[in-house]
């Protein structure tokens, strides 16, 4: 089972390369990929090559990266906050990023959306953190509460911008907020890849400490863990990853909540395997959802809609079936 989940992104990603609106025969797909890997097998520069190499491949990779970021930070934050209902957006990243996007589209068209979304996403987390800190030592309830406050605040700011801009720009903002990979290209992969990996590497290598943190503050301290410092590291790292993910894809809900939950049901709550498998599962899920989004109909459905449509009922099912046992308390 672990092997299946672990290798699922590669398998799903491979299959996704063969699916799309443009008719490319599987043989040609293989030829094109082979010629990219071994340059001596040069293939002519044909439209199919652009389809596979410049459209499907970066889109699959980007979806995978965003899936890794959302699911990886989901499982991390759930561990830190000891709450399976926490998701990467709880600290206000999505609302902050949405505001950055709205500002960029509405008033500062020369500042790239990605950059603005990232800056404001991280700014929102820092603000949430600063507010929580006014309560003395950072503990989980004040942090979640201040995340909710910051989300509400930035959501209101987004509404102001939406109100102030003309209908054309409003349409662009709404599009962006729906979350989609329809404009994915290598440039975005180059932005997202290093950032997401840099953000999640510390999480990956320190994942066993999440076991200690998820036992509760007292227990973690007793085990010699510096709770405060490690929380900051984990929150900072996952915020970085999510901030960058949001900046390239818009807001895609449910993945960070649903995938870790599902993986936890299968492999149990040990973060040593839970973290990497959640990342892998997140990538596979996101690639699948996006492949559905772009090939189910003639249209390019925003993938955020697909994840929500799959996610909400699935989550209800999970909660009924095994939510309690899987979390173990």
């Amino acid at each position: 089972m672990i092997l299946i989940i672990g290798s699922s992104p590669l398998l799903v990603g491979w299959i996704a390369l063969f699916i799309g609106a443009y008719n490319v025969t599987p043989l040609l797909v293989l030829k094109i990929i082979a010629s990219e890997i071994w340059p001596f097998l040069s293939s002519p520069d044909i439209p199919e090559k652009a389809i596979i190499i410049d459209i499907r491949l970066p889109r699959v990779i980007l979806a995978g990266l965003v899936g890794v970021a959302l699911s990886g930070s989901g499982v991390t934050l759930q561990g830190i906050f000891r709450n399976p209902l926490v998701d990467p957006f709880i600290l206000g990243i999505s609302a902050g990023a949405a505001f950055g996007c709205a500002l960029s589209i509405g008033f500062f068209p020369n500042l790239p959306i990605q950059f603005m979304a990232f800056i404001f996403g991280i700014a929102a987390v820092l603000l949430a953190y600063a507010i929580a800190k006014t309560q003395g030592e950072i503990s989980r309830l004040p942090l979640i509460l201040s995340g909710v406050i910051i989300s509400a605040f930035f959501t209101a700011l987004v509404s102001i911008v939406k109100f102030l801009v003309d209908p054309h720009k409003l349409q662009s903002i709404v599009f962006w907020l729906m979350g989609s990979f329809s404009l994915a290209d290598w440039r975005m992969v180059k932005i997202a890849g290093p950032g997401i990996i840099a953000g999640l590497l510390p999480v990956f290598f320190m994942r066993w400490r999440l076991n200690a943190l998820s036992m509760g503050e007292e227990e973690a301290r007793a085990l010699g863990v510096n709770v405060k410092r490690e929380r900051i590291v984990f929150i900072g790292a996952s915020s970085l990853a999510v901030g960058i993910a949001v900046s390239v894809s818009g807001i895609i809900g449910w993945v960070g909540l649903m995938v870790p939950h599902l993986v936890r049901m299968i492999v149990g709550p040990d973060h040593r395997s839970l973290v990497p498998l959640s990342m892998a599962g997140g990538a596979a899920f996101m690639i699948s959802a996006d492949t559905i989004a772009r090939s189910l109909t003639d249209f390019d459905i925003p993938v955020g809609i697909i994840t929500a449509i799959i996610g909400a009922p699935f989550f209800v099912y999970l909660m009924r079936k095994g939510g309690r046992e899987s979390w173990g308390r």
Binding site: A21, Y22, P47, I105, H168, F175, S182, R294, D298
Partner: protein, 326 residues
């Protein structure tokens, strides 16, 4: 006798006065299927939409309120430089400030159908509202003629329409010379590069009029988000970008994803001006598009000159006063 003749005379006078009054009620079924009766000519109107028809009809004196987006419109600023100071706004078609609107005491509110509940709300507050959303060239003409009737400027509106028709005729004559198998695929990109104009709407009508083949026409919608792969499969020879889109021509030209699209390979990607297509300005836009699509058939046409002449005739200003073509 004298009394009788005076009596008859006054009855005659009454008829003379009343007859035009009776006739002067416009009855119109709007885009939401509502039947609206409006006495005319209208003296006080609020334009949340269709404000580009104000200068075309020469009715600035009847406009007591305007949608807030009109303040950014190049044609509005050119024909009424003091618009922000002289004409108040009561919001827009999507966000109406009902008190501000009632204060303007309009005889009619012209708005669009984007938010039907707003239309109903205004109606419940005792306002006379017509909701507009032209989805084809005939529907646009219908809306224009409605404005002509409402403001008693039918003749002037017909003149504008005939000026538009003159340009369309010029285009059609040239397009008729193009063999059917030489017609080019033309795609219109919207708010984002993969959001395209489909088979319903004024834009699609114009693509047809200029002899283009809109590959998205089989999708019976106004706009749709299309996977990039499909656009490559359609392989349009010419691409137009909506004037209000947030990206530029070079964003398309320089993208590796678009490099196999014929229009990009041959550098036939153009961004339209930010002009309304629900306006007489549709005609010069169409001419510009036709000339960009089939330049070899328009070598003898000075588009700028035609456009300038059109602006002077229809709006009373030179073309140099508005935002120009790319």
């Amino acid at each position: 006798m004298g009394r009788l003749s005076r009596f008859l005379g006054s009855i005659l006078l009454l008829f003379m006065v009343a007859a035009p009054l009776q006739a002067a009620t416009v009855t119109y079924t709007d885009k939401m299927g509502r039947i609206v009766h409006c006495p005319c000519p209208v003296k006080r109107a609020v334009f949340f939409i269709s404000y580009e028809l104000i200068p075309a009809l020469g009715i600035w004196d009847r406009c007591v309120g305007i949608g807030r987006w009109a303040y950014d419109n190049d044609l509005m600023k050119a024909t009424r430089p003091d618009i922000e100071k002289s004409i108040p706004s009561a919001g827009s078609g999507s966000d109406v400030n009902i008190e501000a609107l009632l204060k303007l005491k309009p005889d009619i509110v012209l708005t669009w159908t984007s938010k039907p509940e707003t239309v109903r709300f205004m109606e419940e507050k005792g306002l006379r509202v017509i909701a507009i959303y032209p989805e084809s060239l005939p529907e646009l003409y219908d809306v224009m003629r409605l404005h002509g009737r409402l403001f008693g400027r039918e003749k002037r509106m017909e003149e504008s329409i005939s000026k538009m028709e003159e340009i369309f005729k010029l285009i059609k004559e040239r397009i008729a010379r193009i063999p059917v198998d030489k017609r080019k695929r033309v795609l219109w990109l919207g708010g984002k590069p993969t959001s395209v104009a489909c088979g319903i709407g004024v834009t699609n009508d114009i693509l047809n009029l200029i002899g283009g083949i809109n590959p998205a026409a089989s999708i019976r919608q106004r706009n749709a988000d299309i996977p990039m792969e499909r656009i490559i499969a359609w392989n349009p020879a010419v691409i137009f970008i909506w004037g209000n889109a947030g990206y530029k021509t070079r964003d398309i030209i320089n993208s590796p994803q678009w490099r196999f699209v014929k229009a990009v390979r041959e550098r036939h990607v153009y961004k339209a001006p930010e002009w309304s297509t629900w306006s007489p300005r549709l005609a010069p836009i169409a001419l510009w598009m036709a000339a960009k699509t089939y330049p070899e058939f328009f070598t003898d046409v000075d588009c700028e000159k035609v456009t300038d002449g059109f602006y002077r005739k229809v709006f009373g200003i030179p073309y140099s006063k508005v935002r120009p073509f790319e």
